[in-house]
Symmetry: C2
Subunit: 105 residues, 2 copies
């Protein structure tokens, strides 16, 4: 595992109440924007209805790209009133991950 | 999001000290076995050298498949002396995830 290599970033925070059509359109626009972020390979949008959580699992090309996105997105979420954002950074074991069909470059 | 649909399972636990060639071979054999688990789409093998953590991010076809694997793997890790396994289950927002190139079925 390389500390400066491909990085999995997990963000998890309290979910906001479900919105209507306007919020759905805003989230699609946000997804379009996130898809363009430098160094992002992919994002899975995650949530837990039972636990009232929202967030995402992101794979970035580098730790630096993950950290830059995390800073930007935490600021953006904060302006939207989201607090208590938990972030977890993990390195990837590439040889073992390939054996288990992992979606890595 | 569907509580019984495609499920992201994150397992995270204290890393054991790095082993030698025998442990590496055992881990490859374990990966071969995990690749055959029912309902598993993929596993990314994760770790943090700085935090001393090991684990994985798994995508399963269903919550039931994730729970069955979690029970089996926690028992297996326990027999290997691993304690303090943290498990997080998350549902997937498919429409938004597709926009951000998520590796989902």
């Amino acid at each position: 595992m390389k500390a400066d290599g491909v990085t999995l970033l997990i963000l998890d925070f309290p979910a906001r109440p479900p919105g209507g059509p306007e919020q759905a359109a805003a989230l699609r626009a946000l997804a379009d924007s996130i898809a363009q972020e430098p160094g992002l390979l992919w994002k899975i949008w995650t949530g837990s209805t039972a636990e009232g959580r929202a967030g995402g699992a992101y794979l970035f090309e580098s730790r630096a790209a993950a950290e830059a996105y995390h800073r930007m997105h935490a600021d953006r979420l904060g302006r939207a009133g989201v607090t208590g954002i938990e972030a977890t950074y993990r390195e990837i074991n590439e040889p073992l991950s390939r054996i288990t069909r992992a979606p890595i470059p």
